[in-house]
């Protein structure tokens, strides 16, 4: 009675296994990428060098994503998206961190496309076969502030007293960007709520530096 249905379900199950193994490979590469970029916390002054060092790993990630794209059936992106959504978010948040330590700028969607060869969706009516859901991009950007709060405190610990203020300005700008969105009670909303605490942490670091007059002293010395 159900032979055909059973067969379809079996085939889908196999496909999902395939996707799962691609995601596992991608996760492995992303873990290595994370280790590489984490050097930025112990050597806050070497951002650009570390960013350059991570290039080869991002290239590997792009290759994995190409493999993943080949496996996901066209026209049914959303059906399987939940299997690799987390990995995609991680990849983009690592890229965002890399862009920040290299140039103190926000990762743009053009840069995502350039790094991974995958477009970011920006409109409901444009047909795209394989893409980064806008939610995943937003969630990735929203995880920057917590990394940046670590960067701020490590910068101060490594005697870069001007940097935390710049990190604060950037993080506030990210927070303000999210404030303009009409978020519902979903994952993006929850991430947005947590940004507030990261902002607070960075504010406290900047306050601390200001109270001890460390930033003015450093500026005076460098003049």
């Amino acid at each position: 009675m159900f032979a055909h249905v059973q067969d379809l379900m079996d085939r889908e199950s196999d496909l999902r296994d395939d996707i799962r193994s691609r995601v596992r490979s991608l996760d492995r590469i992303l873990r290595n990428t994370h280790t590489c970029l984490s050097q930025a916390f112990s050597a806050t002054a070497n951002g650009q060098a570390i960013a350059a060092e991570s290039q080869s790993l991002f290239d590997l990630a792009r290759e994995e994503l190409k493999q993943l794209k080949a496996v996901v059936p066209s026209g049914q992106y959303h059906r399987y998206a939940s299997q690799f959504s987390n990995a995609l978010q991680t990849a983009i948040s690592l890229l965002a961190f890399r862009v920040y330590i290299a140039s103190e700028d926000l990762l743009s969607i053009q840069q995502v496309e350039g790094a991974f060869d995958i477009p970011v969706e920006t409109d409901l009516n444009t047909p795209l076969d394989f893409f980064v859901p806008l939610d995943d991009y937003l969630l990735a950007i929203a995880s920057l502030p917590s990394e940046l709060s670590r960067l701020a405190i490590n910068s101060a610990a490594q005697r870069d007293y001007a940097r935390p203020a710049r990190i604060l300005a950037f993080t506030q700008r990210v927070y303000q960007g999210f404030q303009t969105l009409n978020l519902k009670n979903d994952a993006v909303r929850r991430k947005y709520d947590s940004i507030k605490y990261d902002v607070k942490k960075i504010e406290e670091i900047v306050y601390d530096i200001r109270m001890r007059n460390l930033d003015a002293q450093q500026q005076a010395v460098s003049v």
């Binding site: 199950s13 991009y137 999210f178 969105l181």
Partner: protein, 201 residues
């Protein structure tokens, strides 16, 4: 409804040199998606409601009563087909079908329940997956295996109800036929895979 899919709004543009320009675009995207979801949920509820009404009407009918079935169900089914076509228009691009799957599922499930119930009364047989696919393809909808099976699960409940009321009418033959049919049906269902699919949904 059409305005949702084809709104002549000035879309915020992305400035390639300014990464912060993504936020107005994101705002517009999130708002548009939410709006479309709301419309789809409303339309899907109409399909659920009409399908349920159809099932109630089917309960009053006798098996193999082609004329009676046609009289009771042709018009409602035509209306439901129209609702499905409207949903399809609202969805817009086919890739959005999966995007809004969660919102459309209840309506589609109820519809498959109604269709399979009608089919059983008409023929005494189970509506096959292929027949379900072609029935819904006319208004542009696809049927996933798990959606089909979910609809059939609901059918089981309706058949039980039908057999019970037929028994009250002393139509014992029908009761036995339905019982035999359901036994075949439940032994045939690819149960373990179905459970996995359902959990995933």
């Amino acid at each position: 409804m059409t305005s949702v899919a084809n709104a002549l709004v000035v879309l915020p543009a992305i400035d390639a040199s300014d990464p912060w320009s993504i936020f107005p675009v994101a705002k517009h995207f999130i708002d548009a998606r939410w709006e479309r979801r709301e419309v789809l949920i409303k339309q899907s509820r109409e399909i659920t409601r009409d399908s349920k009404k159809l099932i109630v009407a089917l309960h009053r009918l006798q098996m193999f009563d082609t004329a009676g079935l046609a009289a009771a169900t042709d018009k409602p089914l035509a209306r439901i087909a129209q609702l499905c076509a409207t949903v399809n228009t609202t969805i817009g691009h086919p890739v959005n079908k999966e995007r809004f799957y969660r919102d459309l599922r209840p309506g589609m499930e109820e519809l498959i329940e109604a269709l399979s119930f009608r089919h059983y009364l008409q023929t005494g047989k189970l509506l096959s997956y292929e027949e379900t696919v072609s029935a819904l393809a006319a208004s542009g909808h696809s049927v996933t295996p798990e959606l089909y099976i979910l609809g059939l699960m609901d059918l089981g409940g309706e058949l039980m109800r039908y057999a019970t009321s037929q028994a009250t009418n002393r139509a014992v033959g029908i009761v036995f036929a339905v019982c035999h049919f359901m036994q075949q049906f439940f032994h045939g269902i690819p149960f373990p895979f179905f459970v996995c699919m359902y959990v995933r949904e």
